[in-house]
């Protein structure tokens, strides 16, 4: 375009056209970026509620959902109840509880974590599972995505 004009004038005009197109496209690009980046669609429950009686010596762990995330609740040998994010930190599989280790095992790529959710060196995961706060009232358990040791750790 503008090939019939002197070089300088041609370049100025071309820059103006390019700038105009960019000025026009930018708000659309912004709106589309905002539209596709929305994360609130998953839904799910803010907290998971279950009874401690559901965790028996025969099946000492249970997977529950909090805000669409899998969470594993376990009863340890000393009857202490703990909850961890169940998403393997390696590539996102869901881990299972192995009371005999004791610890967590991911069957997708043989990842291992100890009973505190800390990844065992030499296996694929490079970071630990996050332990979550468990609010316990007699047998009633309530778990949110609040990490243990932060927030309202008073209960």
């Amino acid at each position: 375009m503008f090939n019939h004009l002197p070089t300088k004038r041609r370049n100025v005009l071309r820059a103006l056209v390019a700038g105009g197109i960019a000025f026009f496209v930018a708000p659309f690009a912004y709106a589309i970026e905002q539209f596709v980046s929305f994360q609130g669609a998953l839904g799910g429950n803010k907290t998971a509620k279950l009874s401690a009686a559901e965790l028996t010596p025969d099946s000492p762990s249970k997977l529950v959902e909090v805000e669409g995330e899998p969470v594993i609740v376990v009863r340890e040998a000393d009857n202490q109840i703990r909850a961890f994010t169940a998403t393997c930190t390696h590539l996102g599989c869901i881990v299972s509880f192995k009371p005999q280790m004791p610890g967590f095992y991911c069957k997708c790529h043989s990842g291992r974590y100890d009973a505190n959710g800390v990844n065992i060196p030499g296996t694929r995961p490079k970071s630990p599972l996050t332990e979550l706060l468990v609010k316990q009232n007699a047998d009633d358990l309530e778990i949110s995505l609040t990490p243990k040791g932060t927030g309202s750790a008073s209960s």
């Binding site: 375009m1 709106a31 589309i32 539209f35 596709v36 980046s37 929305f38 609130g40 669609a41």
Partner: protein
């Protein structure tokens, strides 16, 4: 750039487009409508793909997911309203494009197949409108689709089979939603892209048709002059659509719950482009209406072969009159349909047990108090 063109053996088509000219005469302004329809179809694809990111095609989730788009997703209301408004604009433009090419007798040799693909594209656009209407799964959508899927049943022999195929169940249900969704986002777009591709390619091959008797005053180079003119129309159209979409977001009625059937809202009726058909069904038996429009459609498709005078490059006033009568008929039927709907809503016709509202044109029904409706029915 030139090397790439040569490597792809595209020298000839590229040269053809570079040297393409568009004739100018008193009717040449109508040429812009085809490109405008193409642009609006592009808007439909872009907004449609965006809506697919959040829409969920099940009776339980559909209405809720549209509500999520409208209320929580950033710019969601704009995207959905643009999709709905632009679909109406697209159908209007396609109708205008069809009638303008009809009156210019653009269908005559060598463009017979182009006309035929155009008729198919019109039907596809109406199909998009019909299948998309159910997707929000609100009361109006549900009842309009109950009625709409009943109509093909009037066709002899194949009617029942078509109804069964569309509904996938005895009545409009989750299976219907899945099927109309599949048609709307997969089947119809694929067919449309092929047919529209052929339609546009033929424009490039044959050039613009000059109506018999028109005097060519000058020629416009397709690149860049004509395309820039087209771009002005596209941008103006987009500006109008954006304004309407922002100021008047497309409404969403209450979800239809299949486990709790309710009466249809007063004055339930289809979108404006189906209103002539809706009104026809009031005057003549359903089988006759379906038969009549089938005959009209077959005649309309065969116009390039039937209009002998235009074929020989002569004026053909008979076909001009046929077009005028057809448009007049559609306009009269549409007007009558809107009058009867507004009468029904105003309660001037017996409307057994349903609440009369003062709204003249409830295109999109407000929430109906289901309990009141059911109680007054039970009395």
């Amino acid at each position: 750039m030139n090397d790439l063109i040569d490597a792809l053996h595209l020298r000839e088509p590229v040269e053809a487009i570079r040297s393409k000219v568009v004739p100018r005469h008193r009717s040449s302004v109508w040429y812009y409508l085809g490109g405008f329809a193409l642009f609006l179809f592009g808007v439909q694809i872009a907004t449609g793909v965006l809506l697919l990111l959040y829409y969920q095609p099940t009776p339980e989730a559909a209405n809720q997911s549209v509500e999520l788009i409208m209320k929580r997703v950033p710019f969601g209301s704009l995207v959905r309203s643009l999709h709905s408004r632009s679909s109406n604009a697209l159908i209007a433009v396609v109708f205008l494009h069809m009638f303008s090419t009809f009156f210019m007798k653009s269908y005559r040799k060598p463009r017979e197949i182009m006309w035929l693909t155009g008729v198919i594209l019109l039907l596809l656009m109406l199909g998009f409108g019909f299948t998309g209407y159910l997707l929000p799964w609100d009361l109006t959508a549900y009842f309009a689709t109950r009625i709409g899927t009943e109509v093909p049943g009037m066709l002899p022999i194949v009617g029942e089979a078509i109804v069964g195929l569309l509904r996938g169940a005895r009545s409009v249900s989750g299976a219907t939603l899945s099927r109309l969704f599949a048609l709307h986002v997969a089947v119809l777009p694929l067919i449309t892209i092929v047919i529209a591709g052929a339609h546009v390619t033929m424009t490039a091959l044959f050039g613009s048709s000059v109506p018999p008797g028109a005097k060519i005053t000058s020629q416009t180079k397709f690149l860049p002059r004509y395309v820039l003119g087209e771009a002005i129309l596209w941008l103006c159209g987009l500006a109008v659509l954006l304004t309407v979409a922002v100021l008047h977001p497309w409404e969403l009625g209450p979800a239809y719950d299949m486990t709790k059937p309710v009466e249809p809202p007063a004055g339930v009726h289809p979108e404006w482009y189906f209103m002539f058909l809706y009104q026809t069904l009031k005057y003549i038996p359903e089988w006759a209406a379906v038969g009549l429009y089938t005959v009209v459609l077959v005649f309309w498709s065969l116009v390039p072969w039937l209009d002998r005078k235009a074929k020989q490059g002569e004026r053909s006033p008979l076909f001009t009159w046929i077009g005028i009568i057809l448009i007049a008929g559609m306009l009269v039927l549409t007007t009558l349909a809107y009058l009867s709907v507004s009468n029904e809503v105003a309660g001037q016709l017996p409307s057994f047990g349903s609440q009369a509202t003062s709204e003249p044109f409830p295109l999109h029904q407000p929430a109906v108090d289901r309990d009141t409706t059911l109680r007054s029915k039970g009395k």
